[in-house]
């Protein structure tokens, strides 16, 4: 009798793990890397703005163009290595397939409607709703595109075929910027929701 209870408890606590250890590690390493990349990227942008505005010096990293470039080309290794680990483990463990698929237009619309009318449940954090699936799969794609466009800006001669794929050096700069904007927009929603549903934040820190 008592042994059954114990094993039941084990089963429930194992099932309760929402975010496995490797996900939590790559998540927080990525959080550091992406913040370094965005804030140093803003300082680099300011040296030759693409649009009619600059980023406030108070929210940029590096102090001047040279400092920002040092940060950007240091943090890129953290971002790329960590990102590759994430992609490899996500594919190998089947987590991507299990968590992010399938995504159907109908499902996205109905879950989005439910979310906006306050009828979306957060009871089971191990399962993503269709809107979450779309955003998390989408941000992975954006992450891949921002790295590839960044590489094509950094190496437009050595990686000239990649640069050409983006429509040339100047277009690649716009692609890189638009991806940054998409990530910042994602972060605003992502952080706001994590604070609105604190148990999701707890799961990303201690696993459940």
């Amino acid at each position: 009798m008592s042994s059954t209870t114990v094993s039941d408890q084990h089963a429930t606590s194992a099932a309760k793990v929402i975010q496995p250890g490797w996900v939590r590690i790559v998540h927080w390493v990525n959080a550091v890397a992406i913040l370094l990349m965005i804030t140093s990227g803003w300082q680099i942008y300011n040296a030759s703005p693409l649009f009619d505005f600059s980023f406030s010096q108070r929210i940029t990293l590096g102090g001047w163009l040279g400092g920002a470039l040092l940060w950007h080309f240091a943090a890129m290794w953290l971002l790329m290595v960590n990102g590759l680990v994430y992609l490899a483990l996500g594919l190998a463990t089947g987590r991507f397939a299990k968590k992010l698929l399938p995504i159907t237009p109908r499902g996205v619309i109905s879950d989005a409607t439910a979310a906006l009318t306050g009828r979306l449940s957060h009871d089971d954090l191990t399962r993503y709703n269709q809107v979450q699936k779309l955003l998390y799969a989408g941000i992975i794609v954006v992450g891949i595109v921002i790295v590839l466009s960044g590489l094509s800006i950094w190496k437009p001669v050595q990686l000239q075929y990649l640069t050409a794929l983006f429509g040339g050096y100047d277009v690649a700069r716009y692609v890189h910027f638009v991806c940054m904007a998409a990530i910042v927009a994602f972060l605003v929603v992502h952080v706001a929701l994590a604070l609105l549903v604190p148990k999701s934040l707890r799961a990303m820190i201690i696993g459940r």
Binding site: G66, V157, Q158, Y169, R173
Partner: protein
Amino acid sequence: MGRLRSLLIPGVDKQLLVKDAVKLLPDPARRRFIAGGASLGALTLLTGCDVSDSFSADQMLTRISKFNDAVQALIFNPHALAPTFPESAITKPFPFNAYYELDDAPEIDSKDWKFAVSGLVDNKKSWTLDELYQLPQVKQVTRHICVEGWSAIGSWTGTPLRDFLKLVGADTSAKYCWFQCADKDGYNSPLDMETALHPQTQMTFKFADQILPRAYGYPMKIRVPTKLGFKNPKYVVSMEVTNEYKGGYWEDQGYNSFSGS
């Protein structure tokens, strides 16, 4: 480090503080927290930086920049040519760019100017502009990319540097060609030998088929389409072939030294 220190509360022993904090955590979480700390320590080992009092972000960034120099030298393909463009793609007007205004750009009289060659070369003679103009020239229409991010397409005509290096009997197993310029406050820049020998690296005497104007580096510029703009020195007065890394105007201020594109 000074900034990190200021985050600590004076008079509070940080080890005791951590001990107290750990006591407040539930048991399994405590173990995870400590394991997490251990892997964070491992991470700092991996980055190769010295987490001691001598540690500073500047030192770490400088080391990574040197690592990036090595990575770029490794992926540099001496046979990969920078893309070329039709004359119709040339940016007009091509921007003047320097750390000073155009009025402060060097005004060089060709009668007084000589190109001095020194270091690991057989023939250390200085060259007049007329002598340099006798050398065979080729034209390229390539993209100039500034470290700031903007780019512009220009037309440059001159002598491939590798032909000149051969002509003066340079030791092409040396590491650098180090250029000195006539800019105010002095300008210099080292060019790694592999890039110096790249077929498109050029001693440039003409822009858009006209004698190089003052704005673009009269009488001679080194055009390197496989490098960022600041590695394309203008108003060049001398070249030293050397194994020694002698730094450069922008390189010494923190721009990545290889800065290949």
